[in-house]
């Protein structure tokens, strides 16, 4: 169910939205960042589209208690 696409209802498909952005003064002093990690963006500028995805898997099964066995080798 998590992979099924959403069914969207287009009530009025013909409507066109008008969206106006006014960029006024932007002046920043000092920026201090410790980390930018796992598909993140730090941008000083303009952009049209940003699409970031991150898949992180730490399930309970990933904690393996057992004798030393190396991972399966590279294909």
């Amino acid at each position: 169910m998590f992979y099924e696409p959403y069914t969207r209802q287009h009530e009025r498909r013909e409507t066109k939205m008008n969206f106006t952005v006014v960029n006024k003064d932007i002046q920043v002093g000092n920026i201090n960042i410790v980390g930018v990690g796992a598909s993140s963006v730090f941008l000083i500028g303009d952009t049209k589209t940003i699409c970031l995805s991150s898949v992180f898997d730490t399930p309970p099964e990933s904690l393996i208690i057992g004798p030393y066995v190396p991972l399966s080798p590279q294909a």
Binding site: Y3, H10, R13, T15, K16, M17, N18, F19, T20, V21, V22, N23, K24, D25, I26, Q27, V28, G29, N30, I31, N32, I33, V34, G35, V36, G37, A38, S39, S40, V41, F42, L43, I44, G45, D46, T47, K48, T49, I50, C51, L52, S53, S54, V55, F56, D57, T58, S62, L63, I64, I65, G66, P67, Y68, P70, L71, S72, P73, Q74, A75
Partner: protein, 132 residues
């Protein structure tokens, strides 16, 4: 659409790792992709040929796609054509992250990480100081 000019006087970045990008200047499309197996072992013994991404589904499963269906008309008015920053200090960029001073059109980043922790059974443990 006229892009704004980004002006930064001072940049310090300590480290960039794993498919991360530091871009100074304009670009059209940035698409970093990184996959990683993070393995922690009680016995820190690792082999160079270890790890097969195809053995784990998270590296192959398809990501949900965002489709933009809205029909819209966007107007951007840049009253001040300059974005001014005095100084930037970043300690680390990692795993498909992007830092850019300048403008772009599309950023498409992807990071996949599988975390595995391996501990020995109790009787094999070398350090048992905390156990009663």
């Amino acid at each position: 659409m006229m892009n704004r000019l980004s002006v930064v006087d001072f940049i310090y970045v300590n480290s960039i790792a794993f498919s991360s990008i530091l871009e100074i200047g304009d670009s059209k499309k940035i698409t970093p992709v990184s996959t990683a197996l993070a393995v922690q072992r009680e016995v820190p013994l690792f082999f160079t040929n270890e790890g097969n991404f195809s053995a784990y589904s998270i590296f192959s499963q398809e990501l949900p796609k965002v489709t933009i269906t809205e029909n819209m008309n966007m107007n951007i008015c840049n009253q001040n054509p300059i974005i001014k920053v005095n100084s930037i200090k970043v300690t680390g960029l990692s795993s498909s992250s992007v830092m850019q001073v300048g403008s772009t059109e599309i950023i498409n980043a992807e990071a996949r990480l599988k975390h595995i922790r391996k501990l020995l059974p109790k009787r094999h443990r070398t350090h048992t100081s905390n156990e009663t």
